[in-house]
């Protein structure tokens, strides 16, 4: 027998082989924005601890055009991540009632509902209305 199995090399082009892989990478890429935003918040906390002057610096940075662009993008990516995550939640948390399983839409819906309520609560506390 003269076997000589050939191993095909794996390169980064797999990302572009199908839209589902591109969407996956976009979802994963959101972590850069979410991570950066978290660091920004940590810095903000530090500024808050250092008194009024430091806090004003923080607020001024937040108001810059670059910051606004960053926040818009971060919100978009974070929302994309949350939406995809909630839609996938039923796969990880199947709920069996009797013979059948609770519909996917109910479990996703519950996640979105809680998200909406918590968001409203945060906005309320922040004085938005």
């Amino acid at each position: 027998m003269s076997r000589k199995p050939y191993v095909r090399p794996v390169t980064a082009e797999w990302i572009f082989r199908h839209p589902r892989y591109v969407r996956y990478m976009v979802r994963e890429f959101s972590c850069l924005f979410i991570g950066s935003w978290t660091l920004l918040m940590v810095w903000g906390l530090k500024q808050l601890a250092e008194g009024r002057a430091a806090w004003s610096v923080f607020l001024d940075v937040l108001k810059t055009p670059e910051s606004v662009v960053f926040h818009v993008l971060a919100l978009a990516f974070a929302a994309y991540h949350s939406v995809t995550w909630f839609r996938l939640a039923p796969k990880a948390l199947p709920v069996q009632r009797g013979e059948d399983f609770v519909a996917d839409g109910v479990i996703s819906g519950a996640h979105f509902a809680v998200w909406a309520v918590l968001s409203a609560a945060v906005l309320l506390l922040a004085g938005a209305f």
């Binding site: 027998m1 003269s2 076997r3 000589k4």
Partner: protein, 145 residues
């Protein structure tokens, strides 16, 4: 098999075998049809020697695999056709239009096909060992008790 100058193909012989079996050894059989099938299959078996192997590799050679399988299938087919021809009755999946009734006296036995020196298999019989299921009327028409 192998070498060059061949006239037959594995696929060609296989198709002819399939066609013959479908036509003459299918759901309804007759002495005439089975005789024709036996002749065709004997012919196919002799032509099998003229098959050429196109794939000469030693790694996952499915050309060779299919050629070997065809040889076995032809032997199997001829055994089936010869046994069916010799079985002058109808029993289960073997339904003969020229012998519609079941004949337990003569044919409550297993057919055995022996391949020996002669090309055509010799059909012989051995008794059925009856244990739990006894022979009886098998009527699936639904119009009975």
């Amino acid at each position: 098999m192998q070498e060059t100058g061949a006239t037959e193909t594995v696929a060609g012989l296989r198709k002819e075998m399939m066609h013959t079996m479908e036509q003459h050894a299918g759901i309804y059989r007759s002495g005439e049809g089975l005789t024709a099938a036996c002749a065709t299959l004997a012919d196919l078996r002799s032509r099998y020697g003229g098959v050429e192997l196109h794939d000469k590799t030693n790694v996952y050679n499915t050309d060779l695999l299919q050629a070997l399988e065809l040889g076995s299938m032809l032997e199997c087919a001829e055994a089936v056709a010869q046994s069916a021809l010799a079985r002058r009755e109808s029993r289960g999946a073997h339904q003969r239009l020229d012998f519609a009734a079941r004949d337990d006296d003569k044919y409550l036995r297993h057919s055995l096909a022996y391949y020996g020196a002669a090309q055509t298999p010799r059909v012989d019989y051995c008794d059925v060992v009856i244990t739990r299921s006894k022979p009886g009327v098998r009527d699936y028409s639904g119009g009975h008790e």
